[in-house]
């Protein structure tokens, strides 16, 4: 019973935080709500028996990726000007299309959930099982992801290198 209450509290927080994240005009406020939403999702993971996924959600999403988002916003440092632009973009009529489409998805989701029987399996998944399944049935996905990351690494290395050697490039151009 306690677990169900905790689940609904966490789920409500996640939903409210996500809606707030979408509707804020200040990018930093939106990001803080998004972080709260991620933390709530981590709590849900923990409750449904995936503590490893919960920990990774906090370490990677809330702790690293969102920090990089904040980092980019700090670099741009738009301030009040960004807020105004955002307010212009977030006109009520813009919301109609996405709202309709997500309404359809929501109905579909309700239909699927009503067809399910009973709660999702509540056995805890340990870190070892996650590791074994990553390098067992899902090894192809891991390899593809690592290739994608390598491409990103090479790309950023290339950009950084050109910036450092610009003096040499200019000399070659002369």
């Amino acid at each position: 019973m306690l677990e169900i209450t905790l689940f609904y509290v966490a789920a409500t927080i996640a939903l409210v935080a996500t809606v707030m994240a979408m509707t804020r005009t200040n990018a930093i406020h939106a990001l803080i709500y998004l972080i709260v939403s991620l933390l709530a999702v981590a709590v849900i993971f923990f409750l449904i028996g995936a503590p490893f996924a919960a920990a990774l959600e906090i370490v990677i999403y809330a702790g690293a990726i969102m920090v990089l988002f904040v980092f980019v916003i700090m670099m741009l440092n738009l301030g009040e000007r960004g807020d105004q632009q955002e307010r212009q973009w977030l006109q009520p009529k813009i919301w109609i299309g996405p709202a309709l489409l997500s309404m359809l998805l929501f109905v579909e989701l309700l239909y699927v959930i009503s067809a399910l029987e009973g709660p999702v399996s509540a056995t805890a998944v340990s870190a070892k099982e996650v590791g074994l399944s990553l390098f067992g049935p899902y090894v192809l996905a891991v390899e593809i992801a690592s290739m994608l990351l390598l491409a990103g690494l090479v790309g950023s290395f290339h950009l950084g290198r050109r910036y450092l050697d610009r003096g040499d490039l200019e000399k070659e151009g002369e």
Partner: protein, 324 residues
């Protein structure tokens, strides 16, 4: 009774953490004084410990001011994040057998998650201040902490491999015969350096480097909010020290032979005290590096060391498994 222990312990940590952090501010200054051949605060009370009280009264009664140009909500929220995250981190620290708030099988990851959440405090504080020095401090801390988090996590993987668990109790129990500071010496070195960088203390306090950024991310902070940042920093120092002892120096186990003479809690406290003194010594002895030196040290030295450590540990473990 056994259900009450975690609750009591949580209360002790909440109150004791704040008190120890306050005493540490004085202790650190006195110790720095000893090592730098001067006195430090020695006037108020015996050995000058009344300085803690004086500082607290001063900070508590200061005007709680929010700059008009700051982002008010975020500005007030920022200092609380680091204190909450660090206090949460103490939940998984095993002080002695049976003396911990919770023993989860993801204890180590929980600690890493909490330290990574503490970054927001510095980041948001720097951003909400709307001041260029604060912004630069926040930017530096973001890059520094995200980079050093990588090595921090990776350096612990050797320990996890050897003990076969993320649970901190299991890790301490795996060190009954031999502490991991011998078999995981590379991991220990990287973890200590990354720990200083994560708690942004001297010599790696570039987010607040006072000679170039006035006071970095907390330039605009004063009074209680500034005290919260300081509290968070000292809690972070304590948490990192507790973790170093738990992961590498055998936790509550005493040294061989004389280990049984004193209770486990004493050995844990003694070792944590020793590690904190070591951190203060580092602060007294090493000057601050330049920012690009810090980053290149991280990516060009620390990352290869951790990867080598991982490969060697894995190879030795597999070899021993094959031999045994």
């Amino acid at each position: 009774m056994s259900e009450l222990i975690p609750v009591l312990l949580a209360l002790i940590i909440l109150i004791g953490g704040v008190i120890v952090a306050a005493v540490l501010t004085w202790f650190e200054r006195r110790l720095l004084g000893v090592w730098q051949d001067r006195y430090g605060p020695n006037r108020l009370g015996p050995l000058g410990i009344g300085q803690v009280l004086a500082d607290m009264i001063k900070l508590l009664f200061k005007d709680d001011w929010v700059p008009p140009f700051a982002d008010k909500v975020v500005f007030i929220f920022a200092p609380t994040a680091i204190v909450v995250a660090m206090m949460m981190g103490f939940a998984v620290v095993p002080f002695a057998p049976g003396m911990m708030i919770i023993d989860v099988n993801i204890g180590l990851l929980f600690f890493l998650g909490m330290t990574s959440l503490a970054v927001y405090s510095v980041l948001l504080g720097g951003l909400a201040s709307n001041n260029k020095y604060a912004l630069l401090g926040g930017l530096r801390s973001a890059a520094q902490m995200v980079s050093y988090e990588v090595f921090m996590g990776l350096s612990l993987m050797g320990v996890v491999m050897m003990s076969g668990s993320f649970s901190l109790v299991a890790i301490v129990e795996a060190q009954t015969d031999l502490w991991f500071c011998f078999s995981q010496i590379l991991g220990l070195i990287v973890f200590v350096i990354a720990g200083i960088a994560e708690s942004h203390r001297l010599p790696f306090d570039l987010p607040e480097a006072e000679h170039e950024l006035t006071a970095g991310f907390h330039t605009e902070y004063g009074g209680m909010k500034f005290a919260m940042f300081m509290l968070g920093e000292y809690l972070g120092l304590m948490l990192i020290s507790c973790m170093i002892v738990t992961l590498f120096f055998g936790g509550w186990h005493g040294p061989a032979l004389i280990g049984h003479w004193l209770p486990p809690l004493f050995w844990f406290g003694f070792k944590v005290f020793f590690v904190i003194c070591f951190f203060v010594l580092l602060r007294a002895a090493i000057p601050r590096p330049r920012y690009d030196q810090l980053m290149s040290l991280g990516w060009k030295v620390m990352l290869p060391i951790t990867l080598i450590n991982l490969v060697i540990t894995g190879a030795v473990l597999l070899w021993m498994e094959g031999a045994g």
